[in-house]
Symmetry: C2
Subunit: 484 residues, 2 copies
């Protein structure tokens, strides 16, 4: 039986130590986690393959992504400017005299992280949420995902080895293996928890969000939940590039059996002969996808159910589907519906997690706009268009921008670059807070709060705020960015 | 009868136009609001005086603060770097090829603002919340505070005049005069509302927070609510500076009849003869405060009730109190209690909004730490100490830092500088989200979300992200801050 109270108390005690660890040592710790994971690559890929049905090439790539994320955050922490140091100097001549005020970001405390089933490495135990929490100087309690329980435990062992090698507080990272929703609720509701990171289903994320807000002291929850990632295909590109588009987006729909939160589940275009031709080519690409097992039985059953529900809605017809699936495999499908039917039926906006996509055929631009306006918040929206298309459809692109955290031109939404400019977020229900991202270096901003120090003696200030700028970081000093 | 649906629809329609207004014009609009308010200074100060009982000098100062806040946000918007433009250039040689990704902050949509009763100008109709919303490019629906209903309407008229003079969309700013909690709930629950700003009581802020989270699509609420702003007096400064400290902090407790969210309601010190002397001097300063009417009957009655409740708690004794109060006046009080009693009684942590403060006398440093650890989240914490004090009490200062958004050395917490480095925020229940501030230029961050653009043609991008940097703003380009 997991002792949640003990775990959070240990985490809170470790936080008091860990938050004081100098940036260079914290960076070395993140790199040590990456090294320990790399050292276990072969057994990790093997056990993850057994637990998730994902092929070795994919898992090897994902493991590399995971260690790269850890290194990215190590570099961010070592460079140091992420703390957003702002200094407003004293002005004794103003009325009233202005005091010296300096602020920076400080970690909030123990964070509970719930990993995703579809990324056993990169969005799970030592994934982006955990890496950003540890980079921020906060401690983490990881709820291991039951669909890859052994992978999670082995990654946790790698993290424990890194803790020992770099002399971090023993309880900086903790792992809860007990499955079930009740233990997750208990972790989130514990008074010492200060934040929550989650990647997964809408039902799961929303439940944690509600628990966190029902606490006596509510805490922030960043849950990345549900998105159908609409793609708008504009007329000129459909005329000119149908075959290439079909290959690119057919590949995106079926990549990894469609088990990505950025899977393009909704395609929007104007009725035309070029569209019919594109739809046929896209259907062929999706139909020819080599079948592959899904992550686990629960996901496969949900796919069968949701796919079946989609295909039986008013006005929905199948353009093409893949071969009859064997046990645990998913049968890919491309369906179509007219915009009029789409606009009347909210079920058609529900995420079908798997290799499924719905083409919405519009009669005119106004109908395309109506479809875009009807959509809920999204992680991504994509425009497929030539330069001429884009010039003629600025209003559509503006609508797409207000829908999502990431707007993409002429590339599939699957594939999320881990970089400073990435936004993997978006309006509800894509996430519970559109003001943050869970991928890229800005993900660290979820686990910190600004604290300002007024009138402090220089030696009392954290190094990031001291007069001499001993860390050599970028700071906003009296309105100017400088390293001086 | 207020038509909330109509108001939010107008606000959402205005948002579609207002968000496209170029930064220079938005800045001119904010300055025009400041000018229109300035032009009405005399009648505004008169009506506000009638409605709030605040003296003209204070109201004139507050009006100047209000126009200065508008000008600060005008400058922020005109300068432009606040959008946090981040550019990661394409790298065709990486595997897979890295696309061009650029992000910036964009406004979220209509925001509902609830002003505070104690700042009829600076934290109300055209106060910091409204100024930051408009600076962000979002539209605002202001719920006028019933305790200064006419002031609110006249400030709104000034804003409408500015809208006309600068040709902004007519419904960029709207004002709801209807009093009552029900209308506030309706505004927050309306599907087109995208954010909420609030300054006021814990009960009010928490209710709005709960409504916002019960929506089908939850929205962010920044509520600044409840804080008792602990001040720790260290031994050496009590020995050396008792008289000056008594004058400074006595003035802070009674300033504006204590009707400030940063009022120092809790004083913490070690038992000593120096403390007894200081307590006497402080009691004199507080007791000699010239009586003044409170803002309105509700606040005065609440003060009488909460003050009475405080003084009847186990172990609480009066050090000094002011003259018997006339109608609507508040009777200032300084009380004391031993740490042991304080630690056993949560009622002693409740905010007594008015000129009241409680001195907690500790037997030793461990008891001081226990008192600090027992406190809930605060807007401010203050240390009164000499350099020697500070060196000897680093552990206490660390505890204070984890409590609050602003940590102050040797100055009273009342008086909140409006600048880039200010944090007027803090852990719950000081606010509903410690990651933001409601004072200073960073207050704008509450009403925006990051959006990234992947693989866009340069001409499609917002100016802030275009290759040539036409706005000349600071941007993080491939990891370096530059204006190039």
């Amino acid at each position: 039986m997991t002792d949640v109270n003990n775990i959070l108390q240990q985490s809170a005690a470790a936080f008091e130590e860990y938050k004081k660890v100098p940036a260079a040592e914290r960076a070395a710790f993140l790199e040590a986690i990456a090294a320990e994971i790399e050292a276990r690559r072969e057994p990790l890929v093997t056990v993850a393959g057994q637990e998730t049905n994902l092929p070795p090439a994919r898992l090897n790539g994902e493991l590399t992504r995971t260690t790269n994320q850890l290194k990215l955050f190590a570099n961010l922490v070592r460079e140091g400017s992420w703390v957003e140091a702002v200094i407003d100097s004293a002005n004794p001549n103003s009325t009233p005299a202005r005091p010296d005020i300096r602020k920076m970001l400080l970690p909030i405390g123990p964070v509970v992280v719930f990993g995703a089933s579809n990324f056993p490495f990169a969005f799970s135990t030592a994934g982006g949420d955990t890496a950003s929490v540890l980079a921020a100087g906060a401690t983490v309690v990881i709820k291991g995902h039951p669909a890859h329980a052994n992978t999670s435990l082995q990654v946790f062992e790698a993290m424990q080895a890194a803790i020992k090698k770099t002399n971090m507080p023993a309880y900086t990272v903790q792992h809860v293996a007990q499955p079930g929703n009740e233990i997750g609720k208990e972790l989130v509701m514990h008074p010492l928890a200060t934040g929550v990171g989650f990647t997964g289903s809408f039902a799961g994320g929303k439940a944690l969000f509600d628990y966190a807000n029902q606490r006596e002291r509510p805490i922030p929850v960043f849950a990345e939940m549900s998105s159908i990632n609409p793609v708008v295909f504009l007329p000129d590109t459909l005329e000119k590039n149908a075959a290439a588009l079909a290959q690119t987006f057919g590949g995106s729909v079926t990549l990894g059996m469609g088990q990505f939160c950025t899977n393009p589940g909704l395609l929007i275009a104007l009725r035309s002969p070029a569209l019919d031709q594109f739809a046929q080519l896209l259907g062929d690409a999706i139909g020819q996808c080599a079948p592959q097992k899904m992550l686990h039985g629960g996901i496969q059953q949900a796919y069968v159910h949701n796919r079946g529900q989609l295909l039986t809605q008013q006005g929905v017809s199948v353009i093409s589907e893949g071969a009859q699936a064997a046990e645990l495999e998913a049968q890919p499908v491309l369906a179509r519906v007219n915009a009029k039917d789409f606009l009347q039926n909210h079920i058609l906006q529900e995420e079908v997690f798997g290799p499924s996509s719905l083409l919405v055929v519009c009669e005119d631009k106004e109908e395309m706009k109506a479809v875009l306006k009807s959509l809920r918040g999204q992680l991504t929206t994509t425009i497929a268009g030539t330069e001429a298309d884009v010039k003629a459809h600025a209003d559509l692109i503006e609508l797409q921008t207000s829908l999502a955290g990431r707007v993409i031109l002429n590339a599939p939404p699957t594939g999320v670059e881990v970089c400073a400019a990435m936004v993997h977020g978006g309006p509800f229900p894509a996430t519970t807070d559109s003001r943050f991202t869970s991928v890229g270096s800005s993900a660290i901003k979820r686990w910190v709060r600004p604290v300002c120090f007024q009138g402090f003696f220089d030696g009392m200030l954290p190094p990031a705020l001291q007069h001499a700028n001993p860390l050599g970081i970028w700071r906003l000093v009296d309105g100017e960015f400088t390293k001086a």
